[in-house]
Symmetry: C2
Subunit: 152 residues, 2 copies
Amino acid sequence: MRRDSRLSRMLHVLIHMDRIDGAATSDQIAQMLGTNPVVVRRTMAGLRDDGYVHSEKGHGGGWVLTRPLSEITMLDIHRAIGNPAFFAVGVAVDHPECLVEQAVNSALGSAFEAAEKLLIEKFASVTLADLADEFDQRMAKIANKPTCELSR
Amino acid sequence: MRRDSRLSRMLHVLIHMDRIDGAATSDQIAQMLGTNPVVVRRTMAGLRDDGYVHSEKGHGGGWVLTRPLSEITMLDIHRAIGNPAFFAVGVAVDHPECLVEQAVNSALGSAFEAAEKLLIEKFASVTLADLADEFDQRMAKIANKPTCELSR
DNA sequence: GGAATTCGAAACTTTTGTTGTTGCGAGATG
DNA sequence: CATCTCGCAACAACAAAAGTTTCGAATTCC
Ligand code: FES
Ligand code: FES
């Protein structure tokens, strides 16, 4: 099963956007992510609808953050891209008649529920500012600093 | 993303097999699961290779358990079907140069790692006998007992 | 006002992995 | 030998993310 990379991509972009003067075009962002501008717009649309970014058309247009990274959590972004399912494994039938299957579903369900709870707690507890700090620490540590042209 | 139902299906089947006299054919199992015998053989192949079941050809043949449910954990079955990925969400690039992306991967990675650890612990701690017990409790509780013809 | 940017959105195709299907071969049983 | 049953290979169907093409519309620059 293909892994959904939207959360990872959006987190990456938002932190870069915070360090960039002015707007970032979908084209620039697409190059950062190794994809194309249409995919960027599609995914960013959710963030716009939830008020984390704003987009402007025309010359000098593009995407800008509308609130500080410290006020955005990883969970916020997961929700903004549509709350995609965390798990690739699931039950065969949702509400089975078979009592064996009910018992199996119950065991699997409680395990996944606990894991999801953990994920959600973790995601809610980490702000993008935390990630930016983590980035700064990595930046300070190494001499050889790889950055693409887009992040100045 | 489509959910992988193999684990759920195999757990279901194994518990039924334990309550059935003699062998269960792929055809019978397929009817239990609402699928077809080829899919059953394909999935059961992993369990056979790992020694949880044995298959016999010809008249009266089919699948039989080769060890007690108390000696099989949910984790064993997950491994037997090929250790499919638990998560549907992942990072965009595995070993990125970009330090921002590294920071993002690190945060996502540690969250998923913790969740996976929890899942694995839970799965390792539940035997199929536990699930069978759970089934018995459900069975005892209700008057109206739905079972398909196949589970006798 | 016209050209160039840039987003918005619809309508595809591609990709990747599970699931479903068909067909044939090979043992086992009676 | 007829029938049952698994084993295996090859392929079609399906689902969801990702990629692509092609419009239109708003904005800015000249
Ligand atoms: S994409 Fe992160 S430095 Fe260029
Ligand atoms: S499939 Fe579980 S009772 Fe028939």
